[in-house]
């Protein structure tokens, strides 16, 4: 009897802890949604439950040309970054994962080193490069600069996946006289899709969320990406920020990410652990 009570209590305590974790993880986002659905007159009354369902903030944000433009820029930049990172990452990971050659360790160390760069350390040099290439205040400049953090990560994770593929496949391809390029595209590519989806997703999220370069390398409203646009939403003064529209904008750009994460959570977890545990 006593033991059953004790076990019940333990079980209860466990679920209480789970509830606390859930609340902690979800509440800020939930509260942003609640706030975004309030008209500005009700904004300054604290409510724990959705008190109104007013889409006026969303209408205002999506009616603003520069914000819609920022969303389009973010989509364009993120997809281009993913495409480039995967293309260069796939070929590089074949070389690093399947071929033994002198200098391989050095290349791997360089990649690891670059992934640990503080972004601000290259800021002035990269600013110059971007200006010389005439990409200042241009989303293409962001695509270029984002390779500094997406490429090393992509190469690293794809290399670990590439190494795990069975060797017989490649032997067979070589016996059939396939060139390395054919081996990659015909033999490995079909097997690498899951890994590419994972790394592509992580690169997408990283590019979508990036702030420092986007803030520094763009100047006008119509060239900005979403994080910068949200950070720069301002009201009459610093003390009267339009919180309703800010929350509406935040929810708008976050919902797609949250949905992606929910759908692909297994993949994301495997990608993160492959990227970090093995590198």
């Amino acid at each position: 009897m006593n033991r059953t009570v004790l076990r019940l209590l333990k079980r209860l305590g466990f679920y209480a802890l789970i509830a606390v974790v859930l609340f902690y993880a979800i509440f800020p986002f939930y509260y942003a949604v609640v706030t975004s659905l309030k008209p500005s007159s009700e904004l300054f009354r604290v409510d724990f439950w959705p008190s109104s369902f007013d889409l006026v903030n969303y209408a205002r944000i999506l009616g603003e040309k520069s914000f819609v433009r920022a969303i389009l820029n973010s989509i364009l930049v993120s997809f281009s970054v993913v495409f480039i990172a995967l293309l260069l990452g796939l070929t590089a990971s074949y070389a690093l994962g399947r071929v033994r050659f002198r200098g391989r360790t050095s290349v791997l160390l360089i990649i690891l080193g670059v992934s640990m760069f503080p972004q601000v350390a290259v800021l002035s040099g990269l600013f110059e490069v971007i200006r010389v290439l005439d990409l200042y205040n241009n989303p293409a400049g962001l695509v270029l600069s984002y390779t500094i953090f997406t490429l090393p990560f992509t190469v690293w994770v794809l290399t670990t996946f590439m190494r795990q593929l069975p060797q017989e496949l490649e032997e067979a391809a070589i016996m059939d006289g396939a060139t390395p390029w054919i081996t990659i595209t015909r033999v490995f590519l079909p097997l690498m899709w899951p890994a590419m989806a994972t790394t592509g997703l992580l690169a997408f999220i990283a590019a979508w969320n990036e702030f420092l370069f986007a803030l520094t390398f763009t100047l006008t409203d119509d060239q900005r990406t979403v994080p910068v646009a949200i950070a720069l939403i301002s009201g009459g003064s610093q003390h009267e920020l339009p919180w309703g529209p800010i929350m509406a904008a935040s929810v708008t750009v976050t919902v797609p990410l949250v949905v992606l994460v929910m759908i692909f959570q297994r993949r994301i977890v495997s990608g993160l652990t492959a990227g970090a545990v093995k590198g």
Binding site: V107, T254, K278
Partner: protein, 324 residues
Amino acid sequence: MSHPVAERAPHRGGAAKSGYRGTKVRRQRVRAAWLFLAPMLVALALVAGWPLLRTFYFSFTDASLADTGRATLIGFENYLVYDDGAWYGLLTDPVWWTSVWNTVFFSVTSVSLEVVFGVIVALLLNAEFRGRMLVRAAVLIPWAIPTIVSAKMWAWMLNDQFGIINHLLMMLGIIDAPLAWTADADLSMWAVIMVDVWKTIPFVALLVLAALQMLPSDCYEAAEVDGIHPVKVFFRVTLPLITPALMVAVIFRLLDALRVFDVIYVLTSNSTNTMTMSIYARQQLVEFQDVGYGSAASTMLFLIIALITVLYLYLGRRQLGVDQ
């Protein structure tokens, strides 16, 4: 780790001919390898290598943002210079040292908190219970939210007049008057840490969870048979076994925390109470247009992070699998 075919090919089949073919295939593969690496290496050189060298160079010049091409070498003047009876330069700037201290304090505090809470969350998620997948997905939400958005969300919750956190604390009678979380000199650093910890617990938790799921179950069965207290089992068995994964998580988070920029920029802007090395460097570079001086600050930050990385690589080389 991988055993390329080409190296073994000669041992197979006839003697001379296949040996020749083996080297040929091998050479072709090595050439292809470099060819495949070339675009990536060029890209990295363009966005990482060359800019880094330029940053080093700028730090010894008086370059300004308006025209970085016209810069003259001024030696170590950006770092330290003795002029007219007094020392000047980055290394004598109290704001710089404040930002160094802030960065260190922020990194150590938030990474410690993340590790403690991350391990707790991982242990919870490692238990079997109904709806575990759902909880695991929910825990990932803070990680998926863009840093800017999470900073804004928390800025709203921490709002001094209308924020829900002040409201709650006052309702519970913990404080009498609303706190100015992001403006108060004593509180703003903690506000920043709170947001960073919230956002990055999932990362640590997932890495630890992956390590936990690979642990052998026989140790635990043995411990249970011997009737050892679970807390003791955790500290004697689990913790030592997950230490490697934990160290990886710590170093990744530490390197990330040392270069922190966006969460602080959004929450407290350029306030010196929370200014970090990245914020300081960018302010000099972009807002004050002083590329030389800002580059000196960036270079210092780079050197600090490089030192930590090299130390880690040296100590943890085998874990990384580079040499296998």
